[in-house]
């Protein structure tokens, strides 16, 4: 191989214009692919984290009692109109035991029983509609990461008389840390709570209308005794939610809600974004490959006499093929490394931009993630594409007829 690599390397070094162009083509493609993928993956990643950071991946509830027609004989047909029973609270019995069972399911990383429902917060003459979520703070924390979003007060150590509310709700109701609020639940239980903590999740829905209390407090508010209205489940891989959720509902006969179904519009948006991401990557690879192929074809054409001379000296077709294929390989290696470095530089620069600060917390404006796998795959793909692109010129070079090219001039 020494002859081929020596020649290929010498060609790369001496034809600066060609080498410059082809290296730039590979570098540009690699840089673009890494940039687009890291940026979009980062955006998705953060969105999912924010979106379902505060949600359970799977929510397990008691199945809705659907009325069923009594007669189900195939010979007779009935006209049946099924009317679902309206809102009736149904609770999970012995939630602790159920939680233990659920922990054994694949991918399950945390569970938390919760009781929740609608309620009013009463301040003087004004009433504010809120959603109550009652759960053990430590267990709920494994599901919804609320502690990172606490901007005042506390959450993990609250007691049965404490309530944690969103900053938007605090603004709307004019409530501050330490104030007392009255809560009237939909089961007509009224109770007083002290505002022990205020949070900012960045999601208006939650910051404006969701409040957290302990499990015991919610169980009193909704008169559920020791039962729970739902069990939240967190998975180690959010994208397994549909499968695990089906597994649970099939084996336990319970109703399960997967975040992927509940937030289907986002899941579909991601699918579309992922499709776009892949297409951008493929097209930029194709463009780069075409560019390289055309530059290399010109190079082969220019060197046709030289190839003829080499063949007259005894270089075989295979050797000539390898020379040009290696030229493509060297160019792609240099270009891939340069492209990866530029992407890394560009992304690092973008990551320094911060969003508008709020409560001393700020996120990156461009939440790109520097995922090593993306870098590796982009480089490998570019190298393969370039090799493929070099194949046509290399074959053309290998098939040069020395008699034709030498005897001119």
């Amino acid at each position: 191989m020494s002859f081929e690599s020596m020649l290929a390397w010498r060609y790369v070094l001496t034809s600066r214009g060609q080498t410059g162009l082809t290296v730039a083509a590979v570098a540009a493609a690699v840089c673009l692919i890494i940039f687009v993928n890291c940026l979009l993956l980062g955006v998705q990643d953060r969105f999912i984290r924010d979106l379902i950071g505060s949600l359970a991946h799977i929510t397990v509830k008691v199945p809705d009692p659907d009325p069923e027609p009594l007669n189900d004989t195939p010979e007779q047909r009935y006209a049946v109109q099924v009317e679902k029973q309206l809102q009736k609270r149904t609770e999970l019995k012995r939630p602790e035991a159920l939680e233990a069972i659920l922990s054994n399911y694949p991918h399950v990383s945390a569970t938390a029983s919760s009781v929740g429902g609608q309620a009013f917060i009463i301040r003087g003459v004004r009433q504010f509609g809120v959603t109550i979520r009652g759960a053990d703070p430590i267990k709920q924390e494994a599901i919804s990461n609320l502690n990172d979003d606490i901007v005042a007060g506390r959450w993990l150590t609250i007691g049965s008389n404490d309530i944690v509310i969103g900053f938007k709700l605090a603004e709307d109701t004019g409530v501050r840390l330490g104030d007392t609020v009255t809560v009237l639940s939909s089961e007509r239980v009224q109770s007083s709570f002290t505002v022990a903590g205020i949070f900012d999740t960045g999601q208006n829905q939650i910051d404006g209308s969701t409040v957290f209390v302990t499990l015991r407090a919610a169980q009193s508010l909704y008169a559920t005794g020791r039962d729970a209205s739902a069990i939240s489940v967190k998975l180690d891989d959010p994208w397994q939610a549909n499968q695990v959720s089906e597994l649970i509902s099939d084996s336990l006969g319970l109703k399960t809600e997967s975040w992927m179904v509940e937030q289907a519009q986002f899941v579909n948006a991601f699918a579309a974004q992922n499709g776009a991401r892949v297409m951008i990557s493929l097209f930029s690879l194709a463009a780069s490959a075409f560019g390289i192929a055309s530059v290399l074809i010109v190079s082969v054409f220019q060197r046709s006499r030289q190839i003829g001379i080499l063949k007259s000296m005894g270089a075989t077709d295979a050797q000539v093929l390898r020379v040009f294929a290696l030229q493509g390989l060297f160019v792609s290696l240099i270009g891939a490394v340069l492209g990866a470095l530029s992407a890394w530089g560009l992304l690092s620069f973008l990551l320094t931009f911060k969003q508008v600060e709020r409560f001393g917390k700020s996120d990156q404006l461009f939440p790109a993630i520097l995922e090593p796998r993306v870098f590796a795959m982009a480089m490998v793909a570019a190298i393969l594409a370039t090799l493929l692109a070099s194949l046509l010129p290399a074959l053309r070079a290998a098939r040069t007829n020395p008699v034709e090219v030498i005897t001119e001039g």
């Binding site: 020494s2 060609y11 006499r305 063949k311 007259s312 008699v403 030498i406």
Partner: protein
């Protein structure tokens, strides 16, 4: 279209043959066949005892590498390489690198033809005459049995022409290499052991200076 019609001859080792003819007479075709760059449509060609029709393109390439050295009218050196690297190219093609002995031998050849000063210069940094001399050393690098030259002095001035021709004559005689040269210069042709005159594809052989 038949370029060469019914050519039959054999050439001995160390012989110097001049091939003379007008352009289009078929002398380049003859040279290409003799150098295993082209296969004849009919007939038998043996180079150093090997029947070239039994070889595929790979086999022909190996044969050329080992047995044949070409010198063309235009030197066709590779500008990306030094003179020494150019001269060593047939060896590098065969084995990837030259052994110290081979290197020494080629360097000696270069010295012999007066190129020791320019050994490490790039091929495009020396004169035309010097370039052709490098091409001659290159042709001899693999110690071939046969050197084929296609108007090697055609592109040089008369002084360089003389030098190059004398050099080729001496080298081939010294190393016992068969030397076949296409030329339109009757003076040079006259110095050959035999002259092959081609006219319309027919070869007539006459003795040279003998």
């Amino acid at each position: 279209m038949r370029v060469l019609k019914g050519v039959t001859f054999s050439v001995c080792a160390g012989e110097f043959v001049a091939i003379v003819g007008q352009s289009g007479s078929g002398k380049s075709t003859l040279l290409n066949i003799l150098g295993a760059l082209d296969q004849p449509t009919a007939g038998l060609v043996k180079i150093d005892g090997v029947d070239i029709s039994t070889l595929d393109s790979r086999g022909l390439a190996h044969l050329r590498n080992e047995k044949v050295g070409f010198v063309f009218q235009f030197h066709h050196l590779m500008n990306e390489f030094s003179c020494l690297e150019n001269a060593l190219m047939p060896i590098i093609i065969r084995r990837g690198r030259a052994t110290p002995e081979e290197r020494a031998r080629v360097l000696q050849l270069m010295e012999r033809v007066g190129l020791s000063e320019v050994v490490h210069k790039r091929a495009n940094q020396i004169s035309g005459g010097q370039q052709q001399r490098v091409a001659i050393v290159r042709a001899l690098a693999n110690q071939p049995a046969l050197i084929l030259a296609d108007e090697p002095t055609g592109n040089l001035d008369s002084v360089s022409s003389r030098e190059v021709f004398t050099m080729m004559r001496e080298m081939t005689a010294e190393h016992g290499v068969t030397f076949m040269m296409v030329t339109h210069d009757d003076r040079l042709a006259g110095q050959a052991d035999r002259i092959f005159r081609i006219e319309d594809g027919v070869v007539s052989i006459s003795p040279g200076h003998l």
